[in-house]
Amino acid sequence: MPSLGAEFALALDGLSLLFGLIITGIGTLITIYAGYYFAPHEPTERGEAEGRFFLYLLLFMTAMLGTVLAADVITLFVFWEMTSITSFLLIAYKTSHAASREGAFKALFITGAGGIALLAGLLLASALSDSTDLSKIVHNGDALRASEWYHVMLLLIAFGAFTKSAQFPFHFWLPAAMSAPTPASAFLHSATMVKAGVYLLARLYPAFGSTATWFWMLSLIGMSTMLIGAVIGLRQTDLKALLAYSTISQLGALTMLTGQNTPIAFKALVIGILAHALYKGALFMIAGGVDHATGTRDLRQLGKLWRAMPLTFAVAAVAGLSMAGLPPLLGFLAKESLLTSLLEPTDATITQLVQPAASVLAGALMLTQAAIVSIDTFVTPPGAGFPACFNRPSTSKNHSQHKHHVHDLPLGMLLSPIILGALSLVITTLQPEVVATLLAQAASTTYGNKVKVSLELFHEINLPLVLSGVAIGVGAGLFAWRSQARAVLHHLMLSMDTLYNAILDALDVAAQRVTQLQNGRVRRYLFVMLVAMLVLVVAFGELPRLLSNHILTESLATALQGQITPTEVLRASAMTLAVAASLVSVIIRRDLLAILAFASSGLAVAVLIALEPSPDVALVQAIVDILSMVILVLALSRIPQHQRRQAEALNKHPSISNRYSALLAMGVSLVVFLLSWYALASRPRISVVTPFYERNAKPLTGSADIVGAIVVDFRGFDTLIEICVFGTAGVGVMTLLRLAMKKAEASRLTDSGESENNDLEERSRLTLSNKLSGIDGLRTSPFVRMVARAAMPLSLMLAFVQMVYGHDQPGDGFTAGVTVSLAVGLWYVVFGYERTKQQLAAFKPPLLIGIGVLIVLLSSTSPILFGQPFFSPYNFGEALHLPLPHGFDLTTSLLFELAICLVVLGSAIFILDTLGRPSHMEE
């Protein structure tokens, strides 16, 4: 992926090799074990389900290997997230259990979120190193540590690592994940995946390590995790949960070691990783075996199994000894080197006391737990060592079924734990050179300098050995008084789960708050938009700067000095009318009057524009204003009376939100006023734009009317698209109104059979009255009808003139179209729906729009026939030498105007037709 700046790259060094061997080695053993684990169990689920498990397991193994072998941060991250997903699938494997689902979700959510943070941290690091190559980043440590982003990166990466390695306070997902099938737990949650966080920290040590922040963060988090895991573990009644907490404790110790900036700490780290992987893998498999044989993992019910399962007991004892940190096993060596490295002098003397003390305590608790696993399960009778407050569950059915045929595990199932247990022993007793070299290599690559690792168990009697002895003594004592210890812990609830739930609840509340803004009312939405707009204009638009501009005061002064001409008076009165009418339209209760007031304010604006002077624009404004009013009134007539009265009544009681709206409206008006003022005051005295068009309109386009020239020629491209927009709106109106009506009509026809006669009668009566009367069945006077009749041909003529001469004079296709539409609207009002439809049958909207669009296409393509480029202005009359009267040019522009007129007319008739349709014809 060169474009990513990243590539798929893998690399193998000492650290990767150690992890790689653990992953593949234990992975192989787990696979063998799982084959037996699933075999006699749940015969119905065999076959596909089992295959699914192995598929996930192997996928996970691939992802895990990829994580430790990745030589590029993106590759690393991809595999990292893959481990999260495959582990999710493995935990949720038993989908029918609610606990599995919850556990899986928790694990994926926590580690997934951590993964995303990790990505951010890695990206920052690679941005600062100009490469996503892991080795380049690692070698860029000095620059990274000096960067101002160092702490951000460190926090993000540590967050990723801590969530993955179940460090406090994110540790709670790991016990929840114990609902996974045991082979998965043994592999993921002890030997491999949870160590990925430690791996990452170790890997990035040269880049981020050896600073005070690194030391304190990792030491403190690691130490707290170590203690909390060890303490809570003691309280557990589930064998697997106990193992999970002891894993958390061990992971805490490893994190703490990564935080020490000494070579000896890395020696302890690699030994610890290997030792833990070996004994914890074995113990998990044994726990699974015990569960398998007895049907329970509850420590209160297990006991005295050594008779029935002697071989299993032997393996558990060896692994347990290693976990307890007793010689001559690897666990002992791990604890020894841990203590040695913690006793190394550091910058802060306090840690030299606290850390070893904490480790001794944790070591003691580990021993107790190891004893619980090995002794309580296999030697002492069930229930021994539990205080009364740990109520024994009533013996489950499941348990009683299995109890009488408990037997030792099949050899195949024992093979893997035996090998792991034996390795714990062999490595320390035989001390093979190859293992020492492997560990030394791993430690050296991590630390960046040579680290010596020897597997000698005893050097001399020194402080670590003494402390180790103390830990053993305390641990043994704790085991003896485990009942009392458990009773104390029982009352000390330490649960991050509660916090996790509390945080989720808090998020929920925040989410509710945010969604409360969304109350479904458009008024609220518009309110928010307007407020945001105001904030934006005031803050971003530098309104204060605008206000302090001297242009404003200057313009005021000029205005006051100017003379009052009659035009000024007219302008002022038009302005006053516009403002007053708008105000009335807001205040007045009757809807019809409000519409009329609104329309008159629009007409006043048209007067203002006409005074500017720009008659073209004024004409359009006036005509559009009238047309909108007609449409609004027609629409109003379709709203049932009682609804209109309801709305009017609503306006009588101004609510609080109304007052806010009024305030906001004033604020917006003020800002808009200031903007307009500034715009008017600062515009150049001499127009820059107009002279250009005045100069070029006639020679370039053959049109003396600038507005017309702009619309059809200078910005003809816009106009063409505008026609598309118009046509689209027409299609939209048709879709929404017409088809819904047809549907309603159809359903009405099929609806009632019995009332059909009445219905018919009623309809014929209404139709009759409709034929004779205007809108809403009101009779119109003969005079009005005469006017309407006259208006139609007049409007057509006016439209024709506007189009033909509009190129040089005020008026254009748009106004022509609207003019005719107005006449049609008048017909609807005066003659009523049926009659208008009959008499104006030629005005079919689809036909008009279709012809309009066709003309546009033809007129824009036809110049090609005459050897001109597409869309160029062309005068057909001149080209074909047609005898045309002066001022009448048959040009592409004319065709364009005609097309606009037809499309506008068609769309307007569409709307009028639908709104003018009497309501009884539709419902």
């Binding site: 995303i116 943070a117 638009g541 605008l546 715009a679 819904a740 202005p873």
Partner: protein, 479 residues
Amino acid sequence: MMINSTDVVAVLPFISVALGSVGLLIADLLIPAERRHVTAWLAAALLLTAAVIALSLLGSPTFEAFGGMVISDPTAFFLDTLICTIGLVTILLTLRYNQVRGILRGEFYILLALSISGMTLVTHANNLLILLLGIELLSIPLYVLCGIARPRLESEESALKYFLTGAFASGFLVYGIALTYGASGTLSLQTAPAAPNVSGDPLLLIGIGLILVGLGFKVAAVPFHLWAPDTYEGAPTTVTAFMATATKVAGFAALLRVLHGGLPGMESTWQPLVAIIAAATMIVGNLAALAQQNLKRMLAYSSIAHAGYALVGVAAHDTTSVVFYLTGYAFTTLAAFAVITAIGSSEGEEMQFLEAYSGLGRQKPLLGAVLAIAMFSLIGIPPTVGFIGKYFVFQAAVAKGLVWLAVLGVLTSAMAAYYYLRVVMVAFIREGSAAAPLPTPSAPRNLAAAISVAAVFVLGVVPALLLSMIGNGMLSTTP
């Protein structure tokens, strides 16, 4: 106005879709009412043709046309291709869904095509007026499409809300354009800030700010997002799918045209504003999505949140990352909507609530898998395209020094994992028999789902494929 053939080539995708829609309008009249799916297939063929045309133009150099009104660069043609492809996938989704709900109408497809024609114009806009026209052309059909399930009340409500707020936003846009024109004397995006004595003019700044408000509405950025959840929930799901993807892409195309392609030299002015909007959008979108029990509404909020991520790329002035992010987001969201359109009773009642999806993964493993893949990609988990997209925008932000924005993006993504994963949980893990009755399978819908899922993976694994197509980003003709 002199026009030559290169001008036409510049907007060939637009012209072909626009003319095609008119042809569709005529053709639809000739198709009997009970054979409306023919119109759908014709529309699909039209969009396919347009997509192929746009694809074949990818290699053409950057040039202005129609006197600087429009501009053509590989990114614009890529966006054309993307939008037409989204339209095509949407049509595949509609066939069964619309038929069941009685909205398999010819106009549906005509309006869809018209809306797409507006989008393909926006991608090329080099002039504020063209931008406005394109946006109007894409919006008006959408207002209608939202309400096309009339007389269903929720559909009508959705359309009305969208129309009212949309008209409002268009008002801002026009006002902003007017102020910009007033300040600079030009509508061209290239020369507006270069006009003498205007670079610091408050009018120009306010004008651009208002244009941002109008465009922020189109992409549903906070605080202009309030319409989106209501509209998305009420509109027919196929329309929602189209709006959440194509409209979002087009809205961003407009933003990119204004901010990245135009207004040279003004980056320092708009960058803080866009960054703040991006941050607010990510926070509010994700937070609100947490509370949703309705999958469609959740996806509406999620689309708001994703607009926030894309805005991070916009703020970082990295066009390629934004376009890549949108492409990934679009296909992922289409995959999710493909599942929603598939769930529902044969009477047309939709099953939008999360509860209805419990056990889906077991009853319909493939459908469940599509849903899960979509959710994983929306979170941004590799090897899906959602991951690469987030990677690009965050990387762009870091490179531009907007580290706080990238960190915020990461944190909100982590939060988002919660509500996306919940969907996966419900579909796969929860015991379920409550799943809604599934309508008869639909081959086109399955094809749409397959295309989307394939895109999610292919682009997630080989992003270079897409990057080479997107090109070097919006090129400002003035270097």
